[in-house]
């Protein structure tokens, strides 16, 4: 609770600090605020807290996901000063909006009431419409903002309709009441089923699962890369945490009405995400499709509700956030250096010029592909184990095949960095920037060697 308040207040503070026109002040305030929030979040471990008349419930599940998201944001903020170098205007506003969005994300994971979930999702999304278009004079950025706004509004409308239908049948927004309803009622009216389907569909939009993914590649490609990194990690994780919590607490007793949908979303995301990624020339777009395929994997956890799936989802989120931030971090500087050319060719010869960047990128690619001793391996492993325990062997086989296809395009980048050469100059980065990338990389390796540190949390 206090960690969410801290994040929000830091956001407000940043708006005012913007008048000082000193980029080091606001970045340090932002990071201090985030670290305080992270500490507050971690220290409230094991202390169950409900607030706002049971609208929010901060349990270990919420704390774990919140901490991952706050940590991911810290890493993103460490990348920010270098990314915004030379841009003076509106940077503190961008920081503040990121903060507000994060506060919303933290609310999303800890809802105990569907209205709170709605408020959280909106708080998280609205700043992103602006952030996606924050490169004011880039047409792609404007397009991204516009598309994101349109599709998000559609999702919101569907989500509200879903809540309404559920409320109409159950008579309460409260999570506990909804799950009680299903223990009492045996025959579920089909209007309620429609409500559940609409909720699933709206989350399908949020987490970019095929066939509701169409906005994602365009928006990810068009938005400023830093914002894309935020959207691909924090927003997605929040969406997943809420999705999992919603289905596991409210609708666990009526799997008939959503199980097949999740199955379809998962299989389609795996297939379309991986296949479409293979021929992409732009790395950012490729990462967008890879993010869609990760959605497919993460849906396994929701498919196979058991004691293990929440922790496997948490581990996957952590591993995915680290590798994504590392990958986008490297992409950002490379793209900047190559005068906005983010294609695979831009990475050629990176291993010679900037070995550290190349190694960071390699490890993050290996982690995304699920190669051992990176976190990505155990992420996939645990999520597969969870699915097998739930009896979904055939879908795990599809998952493994999809992961194999995935290796192809992840390796393409590694080959470009190591096997090819180019004449371009060395890329100059700041120490803070490298620190963030190295922290992410080292954590990928640590989590890959000692998965139990995270997997045994919840």
């Amino acid at each position: 609770m206090f960690s969410i308040i801290t994040i929000a207040i830091t956001g407000v503070l940043l708006l005012y600090l913007g008048f000082l026109k000193n980029r080091w002040i606001y970045i340090s305030v932002a990071i201090t605020g985030l670290i305080t929030a992270l500490a507050l979040s971690v220290f409230s471990w094991n202390s169950l807290e409900t607030s706002f008349s049971n609208m929010l419930i901060i349990d270990n599940y919420a704390i774990a996901f919140n901490s991952v998201m706050i940590f991911a944001t810290i890493l993103i903020f460490l990348l920010a000063p270098h990314y915004f170098k030379g841009i003076e205007k509106n940077v503190p506003e961008i920081y503040a909006l990121l903060m507000f969005s994060l506060a919303g994300a933290c609310m999303v994971t800890s809802f105990d009431n569907l209205t709170m979930l709605f408020i959280g999702i909106e708080t998280m999304s609205i700043p992103l419409y602006i952030l996606a278009g924050s490169k004011k004079f880039s047409i792609r950025s404007n397009e991204a903002s516009f598309k994101y706004f349109i599709f998000s509004s559609l999702a919101t409308a569907i989500f509200l309709l879903g809540i309404t239908l559920v409320y109409g049948m159950v008579g309460s927004f409260h999570v506990g009441d909804i799950s009680n309803y299903f223990t009492i009622t045996k025959e579920i009216p089909s209007i309620l089923k429609v409500g559940i389907v609409l909720l699933v569909i709206s989350f399908g939009f949020k987490i970019a699962a095929v066939p509701f993914h169409f906005w994602a590649p365009d928006v990810y490609e068009g938005s400023p890369t830093l914002i894309t990194a935020f959207m691909a990690t924090v927003v997605k994780i929040a969406g997943f945490a809420a999705f999992y919590k919603l289905l596991s607490t409210c609708f666990i007793l009526v799997p008939d009405s959503w199980h097949h949908l999740i199955l379809g979303l998962s299989v389609l995301s795996l297939i379309i995400g991986n296949l479409a990624a293979i021929k992409q020339k732009d790395v950012k777009r490729m990462l967008a499709y890879s993010s869609i395929s990760h959605t497919g994997f993460m849906l396994f956890a929701i498919l196979s509700f058991n004691s293990f799936s929440a922790s496997s989802l948490l581990y996957y989120s952590f591993a995915y956030a680290l590798s994504t931030i590392a990958a986008f971090g490297v992409l950002m500087v490379v793209k900047n250096h190559m005068s906005a050319d983010g294609s695979v060719q831009a990475f050629e010869g990176l291993a010679k010029k900037n070995p550290i960047l190349a190694i960071v990128m390699t490890i993050s690619m290996l982690s995304m592909a699920g190669i051992p001793i990176t976190a990505g391996f155990f992420a996939k492993y645990y999520i597969f184990v969870s699915a097998i325990q739930g009896g979904w062997l055939w879908i795990v086989i599809i998952g493994i095949l999809a992961a194999l296809v995935g290796v192809a395009y992840y390796l393409k980048l590694i080959i470009a960095m190591f096997a090819k050469t180019s004449e371009t100059e060395k890329i100059v980065t700041s120490p803070l920037y490298i620190t963030s990338l190295l922290v992410a990389t080292v954590l990928i390796l640590i989590a890959g060697v000692l998965p139990n540190l995270i997997i045994s949390l919840i």
Partner: protein, 634 residues
Amino acid sequence: MFQNSWLILLFPLLGFVITGIFSKKLTGKTSGIIASLMVLASFIYSATLFFQLKQITNSAISVDLFNWINSGKLSISFGFLIDPLSVTMMMIITGVGFLIHLFSMGYMHHDERVNTYFSQLNLFVFSMLLLVMSSNYLLMFVGWEGVGLCSYLLIGFWYKKNAFNNAARKAFIMNRIGDLGFIIGLIAIFTTFHSLDFNTVFSQSSHFISGEAIITFITLMLFVGAIGKSAKIPLFTWLPDAMAGPTPVSALIHAATMVTAGIYLVVRSSSLFVLAPITMDVILVVGVTTALVAAIIAVLQNDIKKVLAYSTVSQLGIMFIALGLGAFSSSLFHVTTHAFFKALLFLGAGSIIHSLQGQQDIRLMGGIRKSMPITFITFFIAVLAISGIPPFSGFFSKDEILAAAFHSSPIVWGLTVITSMLTSFYMFRLLFLVFYGSYRGDSKTFGKIHESPKIMTIPLIILAILAFAGGFLNIPVMFGGTENFATFLKPSITFFNDYNFEIPNHLNEILLALGVLLLIIVTIFVSWYIFVKKSVLPVSDSTNRGIISKFIYRKFYFDEIYNFFIIKPYQWFAEKFTSFIETNIIDSIINGIGSIVVFVGNKARLIQNGNIGFYMFVMIIAMISMIAGIIWLK
């Protein structure tokens, strides 16, 4: 103190990381000092643990750091087992390892990749420590593999010579064959005991009766692992080839640490092995054959390091004889003394090679005892120790094994005595040919022969003291001792139910020892007569040899047999597979799948056409069909 025993592992790991990362920046001297200090720190910590452990009566302490792997039924903790056995091994590894590090600082100072060398040496010590400290088979296997990897790296350290690379690969492949056995053993242990933790496995092993098939299978598989790592027949041929690495590496890998891993494995699993008499017999037979065959081969070798290598194989055979007899602590005692004198021999050989500018052929040495007095004296002590002359350390350890052998079977005893006689024969042959007589090499180099620098001679001196006094650790009862070593180790080892720790009749034993001693002294005299009095020289390679002599000189044709029966057919198959199955069938399938995927991917990409209207259309269609599906389809 015990809880923090992970520090022992941390030091060499740190050394590896530091010298590895800064290998371009550090000078050879600095990295040598860092690496040596790290191992020294580990040694000091191990020694402290040793003294603490002696105070405690219930002397097996498990230290669980954290839960390492948790998957289904498999639960493995990252933990250490600190008991007399592991502490003894830790002290040998770090103690001898430290001296070898010191020696290396002198030996390797001119090498251009000296930092990499020290980094790998530290990694080696780390892996070996992990092997002996771990509290379960899986973690032990990690160390086991690490040792295999480091030996590969270090044997092939001078990678520019192709022959050295081949030697490294040979070592690695031979080890892999053994590892396969180890892995099968691990799986069998897990399916039988549902755990890989030492304490759990050993406490459950009492539920099995002696000779049960599954236990025999497990122990045989573990023994296959031990065969690979400890270089026994039939997987011993890698060890002599492994002399390609720098000489201190030979001392570290092939005398003090790596090859003892197999023995450690058997002793650690003693409570399983005592339940499998068949396996014990197999060990005994393999041990005796190896000891004898290697000793015979060593007699005709002309490369100073090859002689020592075969002597190692032979000594390891003797240790396995002790294991096969169930005399686990005697075997470990021999490991300890052998670590001292064999390390000393290798380092001495290193000192000689260093001073002779890389010359290794003993036919081109001779008469250098004047110019290298310290090397000569220490080498001489080591030769006395390995030959088993009292009161040098080798006497006590070998005597224990002989006594145990005599107790169970006179044939084994007889063969072991013959091995010992051969050992003293070829060791003194080596000593006489290298240090006595006149110099036979290039006369230009003779003037340059010099005693090695202090950094190399000090380890020699320390090791010489240990090789001399190491035997006093475990003075048998018959000489008025208390068998400290064996008593200390007793809690870690399970013995046969009817195994007799004390031999009642001391008089017999003393007589036996004296008899063997007499035989050995006669052998030494014969050796002296042939090589000093008559100054017979080994014939050069071009001379025709008799059939038996040729048979022995070519190492019983082991390499040729392997080449003909395994490598050639394998290569034939491999070639056929490449030319036919690989290119025609597999490639076309793989490439076909690949191009189909790429083709479909290219089409899938086009769905994303950027048109919001189209996107919306597809999404709405999907939504409607989902709702319809949920309502109407069950």
